[in-house]
Symmetry: C2
Subunit: 524 residues, 2 copies
């Protein structure tokens, strides 16, 4: 039913964009394959993940996590059904506290797939989550947006649509994400409908469903069925969803409700302890990792109780706080070490891993923002993260989706894509003939090997200015945020959306109208 | 003779600075030990180096480098003595081209130490170069300086002295460096005297000698002898020096002359192919690595011909160029991969490794500068670089020493220091008692474990602003470069130098006067 929308694409916008962004052969191949916007496939890492824990360290943390699950337990709040499910599975339930016999959670998780495909309505944009793959998705959750022209303000559905469009246009963004910002101009009980519809209609990439209420999760599934067909949705993952633990060691009714809807529908749940270490977890790296592992295992195991085989992702959002002010801090060494360690723990569990992104605490797209973002994004890739939420646009500790930061970060994502390809050791890569041809004291600019390879040899940034000081000054001494400001406007001006089957579009619009008419607006 | 100057320190400035920068126990220990400025010891990495090449890849590159040395050869220009030394060592010399029998260079390098100590006049500041150690040194070479108040301008000796002072003040800067900027107000044939004197008098950290002429190298050695004593200098490394290859595959008279002086004096030479890939080396990573290895081996082997056992460092400065404009680019994926690969090759040779830093092409201390710098600095640490030149202050492709960038980068160095400590797996690090104490749904802010550890738990940035948006706005919406501007001024205002033995000081001043009086000023 979706064949047409999956294969048709606007070649106009594709041909205009072609060659503008650095990506060489991969980019050209991607363009050719999709017949549309220049788009890189999700990253298939050719480099090894970096590891900060040895076997002994991992074993200690795993044993301690089992101790927490056994002795301390996890609370499943305001959800009698969940408690009964745990009783039936062999756990001990005391009020809302669930304690797990040693190995129970780890065993339950064995039915979860090690990797899975999240289907997009354009099959070329479907992504594989797990293994050596890394999928980049935009920032998730900010109530504010900002740009240099209008400053910081509450987000609207127009902003939401803009971020979806920019994600669609960015070559190294593989996923449309979820709440790219909170459209606060739409009633809180209805905005999920407009958000999901924006992802479907303005993009053809995979996207995320709503988790703010079980009914909204169900609406997300129902809308996906209109696009993909009910049978397809039952047997395939078309939605991935962010289920935060309420750390320390609590899952609440809302998140459990959404998790149950998605798991039973066969859709993917990212079970993510949301940790500001020092507040929601111990102040140490190993202690934080232990708690993260316990929480994530309990949540992923619960998803398997809902439907064995339902895709789950071991997620974690971990940062630290300033022990002086209590403010969250980002891009610091301790969260990096947590990220590397958690990735190792996830691999040993045999499930995909979500963490990282381009996190920062800065209020402006300045040097602080980019130092901190780089110190999150590089570990994201090198740890072997499979699903990287917040990979572009995140500002001010996640309170703001920044237009400029979004395009600056996307440039970094393209760079990560190139880094992940590792070292080419083919004969062409070895380039011994080039050295023989050029010899001492000459240069390689005109040699045959350079001529044959120069187009794809080096990463080309869309933001960096490498001109001379004089030229830069003549062009107005623009700092990177100013150049990003121009670039985001160009992206939005150049945007031409993918085609959506009119029948599907109509069914979605009808669905939304019925839903919206069925309840009064709520703003809290 | 130098006991007094090595142990005395200005405790005034130390006590004023104490506790201001995040470093916790290590910082307090360092302060106590040196009795002076808060200063971290050089990094002793507890984390593994990251590797991008496997055994097969390394073997291919090593075999290809031997092929270059055998077949293509390296030119040693305008130095008949060097050519004769190579003939005597068994190489084939054809005009100025030296070709090396297979294994000759690698064998010669076996007399070089795997690691060595560079002594500082304050013994507490001596650094170990090699093994798991990482030493950070400031930017080297820019003819310009810049700050936000006065913009970009030619550097003067006053600027030079300021950067030496800031390096002395920065807790995570382990080395005073060399040409922190070019003091162009001093005649070119005399400025090395003022530079070396500034390092000795304004700092008590290890430093670098002049390489712009063999006589200036000799002056550097002679000045070091006045500080450390002639016998000590003959038997110990007190100077480390940057010997750039003139890539591809050329060493010129100036660099060879300086190398001979330093190697024969038992001082350390960093033999560094200076590569903009695509111009001075092939456009591929493996090809660039091959050429770097061949050049570095030839240079290090030559140092061993000068004096077996002379300390050498396998150096490389590698970046790429824009294949559109020819401009150098920084912080891109290809140089990162070269850096990781070259570090592996150096370890297999059994010599210390120099590369990396905080490189960028940006003209301003903005988001571009910090993205690019982070993407150089993190690989610097994770590759296992032993001596990191340019670790702070580098702007605009190395044309500019930036005051603001210097302090922003120093903040990053302190962060790397923390990251390198890895994961604490002690019982306190595991923090299982904290999890038991707090339990589900509570928080860790007040728990006993947090109270016991909060002071040293997390990295504290000196530049990042993690306050609320409202507070940040109330304080003038300062971006990171503005905050850095205030911080560098405070550092210079707070600076109080280390004590220098008056007799040594007098002998240095006399030496400089005699030298300066012996020749007319030269400005080219």
């Amino acid at each position: 039913m979706t064949d047409e929308s999956q294969t048709r694409n606007n070649t106009e916008s594709g041909s205009r964009r072609r060659g503008r962004s650095g990506g060489g052969a991969a980019a050209r191949r991607a363009t050719r394959q999709s017949g549309g916007t220049v788009k890189f496939p999700a990253i298939s890492r050719m480099i090894k993940p970096y590891e900060v824990l040895n076997e002994e360290g991992l074993s200690i943390i795993e044993a301690n996590a089992e101790t927490i699950l056994q002795e301390v337990g996890i609370e499943f709040r305001d959800d009698p059904e969940a408690l009964q499910m745990w009783r039936d599975a062999g756990a001990t339930v005391d009020a809302e506290r669930v304690r797990f016999p040693k190995g129970l959670c780890r065993n339950l998780i064995k039915t979860a797939p090690a990797e899975f495909t999240q289907h997009a309505r354009n099959a070329e944009r479907s992504v594989r989550i797990g293994g050596n793959n890394t999928v980049f998705a935009p920032v998730y959750g900010p109530p504010f947006v900002s740009d240099l022209d209008n400053g910081r303000r509450y987000a609207t559905i127009e902003d939401f649509r803009n971020f979806v469009k920019m994600a669609y246009m960015a070559p190294a963004m593989h996923h449309s994400g979820g709440t790219v910002c909170e459209p606060v101009d739409i009633p809180v009980n209805k905005r999920h409908l407009d958000m999901v519809y924006s992802h479907i209609s303005l993009s053809d990439m995979p996207f995320m469903g709503s988790v703010t209420h079980p009914d909204r999760a169900q609406d997300s599934v129902d809308m996906a069925k209109l696009v993909f067909g009910a049978d397809f949705v039952d047997q395939n993952c078309v939605l991935i969803n962010l289920i935060n633990a309420n750390s320390p060691m609590v899952f609440d009714e809302t998140m459990l409700g959404a998790l149950k809807v998605y798991a039973r529908a066969g859709q993917a749940s990212i079970v993510s302890p949301f940790i500001l270490a020092g507040a929601m977890s111990p102040v140490t790296i190993a202690g934080t990792l232990t708690q993260i592992l316990a929480e994530a295992m309990a949540g992923m195991a619960f998803a398997q109780l809902c439907r064995p085989g339902a895709p789950v992702v071991f997620g974690t959002f971990a940062s630290s706080i300033s022990m002086q002010s209590g403010a969250p801090t980002f891009g610091t060494p301790e969260p990096s070490l947590v990220l590397y360690g958690a990735a190792q723990l996830a691999r040993r569990l045999g499930v995909p891993f979500r963490s990282g992104g381009s996190l920062c605490g800065s209020k402006a797209p300045d040097a602080q923002a980019s130092y901190e973002s780089a110190h999150t994004l590089m570990p994201t890739l090198m740890a072997g993260v499979n699903f990287a939420l917040h990979s572009a646009g995140w500002l001010e500790g996640g309170l703001v989706s920044s237009y400029e930061k979004f395009v600056m970060d996307c440039d970094q994502l393209a760079m990560m894509q190139k880094f992940a390809a590792g070292v080419d050791l083919s004969e062409n890569g070895q380039a011994l003939e080039a050295v023989r041809e050029v010899g001492p004291g000459s240069h390689y600019l005109g040699c045959a090997h350079t001529q044959a390879n120069f187009e794809t040899a080096f990463f080309r940034s869309s933001i960096a200015d490498n001109n001379s000081y004089e030229q830069w000054e003549a062009e107005g001494s623009q700092t990177a945020d100013r150049r990003a400001n121009m670039l985001y406007k160009k992206m939005l001006a150049d945007y031409e959306g993918p085609v959506l089957d009119p029948a599907i579009n109509e069914s979605l619009i009808d669905f939304i109208k019925v839903k919206k008419d069925s309840m009064p607006d709520a703003f809290t």
